[in-house]
């Protein structure tokens, strides 16, 4: 959440000039995105104000992945999904370089990120997720999920048993118990597609009960479609700290999803293990970041325990019914 690169007005005006979207009128660095620099840009052309997000990609995003990320936005937007279009420059390129860093100009979408979603909003999010799954079916590019199940063992080792125990005495035991179970039970033949893989409330813009935008596709990849449902479930159906499960949000999210793309019975049966996997993924990346971020750093560390609690919840047989038939 920062602006890592300073761009003067002159550089910004030159950059915006490459796109044929009018004259630069305003540029505000915005505190969004995990590790990119973003500006909310306003231009004027023929008396009409237009807004855009200018993104400069910093270390975490690999430039080789940009054709996937940006091509996906265009593909989905063309098919009516609520995602921002990329603005191509005068050479019809979706991104270009500025002093060695890649940047892209992306459509601004209205809407706000909700903190306490309502069931109607969760339903709309489920439907929007299913919409991108269907619309991405004929997207030609692929991208491996580098934070998928094959990465978890290594992540756990990078944290180390002692490291995990330093966060919470039982965290190491939980990971040790669940990782082999996940490896054993992980489904092998479910439908795969492009998935968002990080559809937290932060990455959904909402107006009233309507999804006005799905954003931040920088974890998008090719993986099990229903795993994305599980990630979104873990992201939307609990209180932040993971102590409280919201049954109505869960039911609404799944019903919204199935109103657009019904789950097969194999997918539905796999949801409990996929949800444990989703909780494990965020538990591990948060634990790793926790251990590698000084306690007094200006970035807010996200508590890994919030996802340890979700993992325990999903692993509890008493909760097996939450993914039961939704229709």
């Amino acid at each position: 959440m920062a602006v890592y690169t300073q761009l003067g007005a002159e550089a910004l005006a030159e950059i915006i000039g490459r796109f044929g979207v009018g004259t630069l009128v305003s540029a505000k660095g915005i505190a969004e995105g995990v590790s990119n620099s973003n500006w909310l840009i306003e231009t004027e052309a023929a008396g009409k104000a237009q807004r855009f997000i200018l993104t400069m990609y910093e270390m975490r995003v690999d430039v080789d992945d940009l054709p996937f990320f940006l091509g996906l936005l265009d593909h989905l937007a063309e098919r009516g999904c609520p995602v921002p279009r990329t603005i191509h420059d005068r050479d019809n390129q979706p991104f270009s370089l500025h002093e060695g860093k890649a940047l892209a100009l992306i459509e601004f979408l209205p809407g706000v990120s909700v903190g306490d979603p309502t069931p109607a909003q969760a339903r709309a999010v489920g439907a929007a997720l299913a919409q991108i799954h269907l619309a991405a079916a004929d997207f030609a590019r692929q991208r491996a999920n580098d934070l998928g199940i094959s990465a978890w063992q290594e992540l756990a080792q990078a944290c180390g048993g002692e490291g995990l125990a330093s966060i919470h005495p039982e965290l190491g035991t939980l990971v040790e118990r669940e990782l082999p179970r996940l490896a054993r039970q992980w489904p092998q033949d479910l439908p795969r597609s492009v998935i968002h893989a990080d559809l937290f409330p932060d990455n959904v813009l909402i107006l009233g009960d309507r999804v006005s935008g799905l954003i931040d596709f920088y974890f998008a990849c090719t993986d099990i479609t229903a795993y994305d449902v599980a990630v979104t479930h873990a992201a939307w159906c609990f209180g932040n700290d993971g102590r409280r499960f919201y049954r109505e949000l869960s039911a609404a999210l799944l019903a919204g999803y199935e109103s657009v793309r019904p789950l097969s019975s194999a997918e539905r049966s796999a949801l409990p293990v996929l949800a444990r996997g989703a909780a494990m993924r965020f538990l591990l990346t948060r634990a790793y970041d926790w251990m590698n971020t000084p306690a007094d750093a200006l970035v807010t560390r996200k508590d890994p325990m919030a996802f340890a609690r979700r993992l325990e919840f999903y692993a509890d047989q008493a909760n097996a019914g939450i993914f039961g038939s939704q229709s």
Copy 2:
């Protein structure tokens, strides 16, 4: 440069609802301001989009000062100065509290902050500065300058000779030489008024050669009017690192100022000592922040030496002519 407080969409919608400016359509945390949280807000009323800056005041701003800061904006805006109006809430209050923190809704102004000003832009900035000095003449409130000359000795002591030497071997000597000179030579009977006291390029919005906004009045106070000219001179007429002086920017800034408010001969004669004072003020606050910010913190430390160089420049007799007659 951060958003210190997280506000969910629900809280934001409730807050914006207090102002009667339509429905919340978008809210982006922006990376601006030294230690406040700011959001660029968009609302819609009767099909018309409006933009505002929502500011939440964090530790550095004293709530008791808000009637001065916000009242000043309204006072200046009413007199046609390019400053943002404050939006009063339904109870006609310019600020209110949210969970113990003060917040204000402020008009959004277009424009960008320039990195390499042109003489025409420097001229416009000088004229805008003079305009606020004149327009503030009948502003009823006063506020002491807590970073004025009476604070410098204490700031230097807080840094300590060793502390200053740890930044640069000659920094302590420079401060020791110049502080008593400033105390001895500081003018006592020049006109006083409200001054901005921090009019760096960051705090000026520009469109082409026109000043579209002066912002961030949170150092504004009552002090020697010509000291504000000196601060603005130190802020605009040098390369960032203070190694290079731009004679054309200096001449343009002063000519622009005098096109609106001519300096008296006493003010003009005092500019060299006032400029040394301005350089000392930023030298000392930057040195203090430098020593109290870990080198690996996410905030960019600003180099105190950039103002030590300006101080040396202003103290050099060879440069005495730069403040000579401008008319």
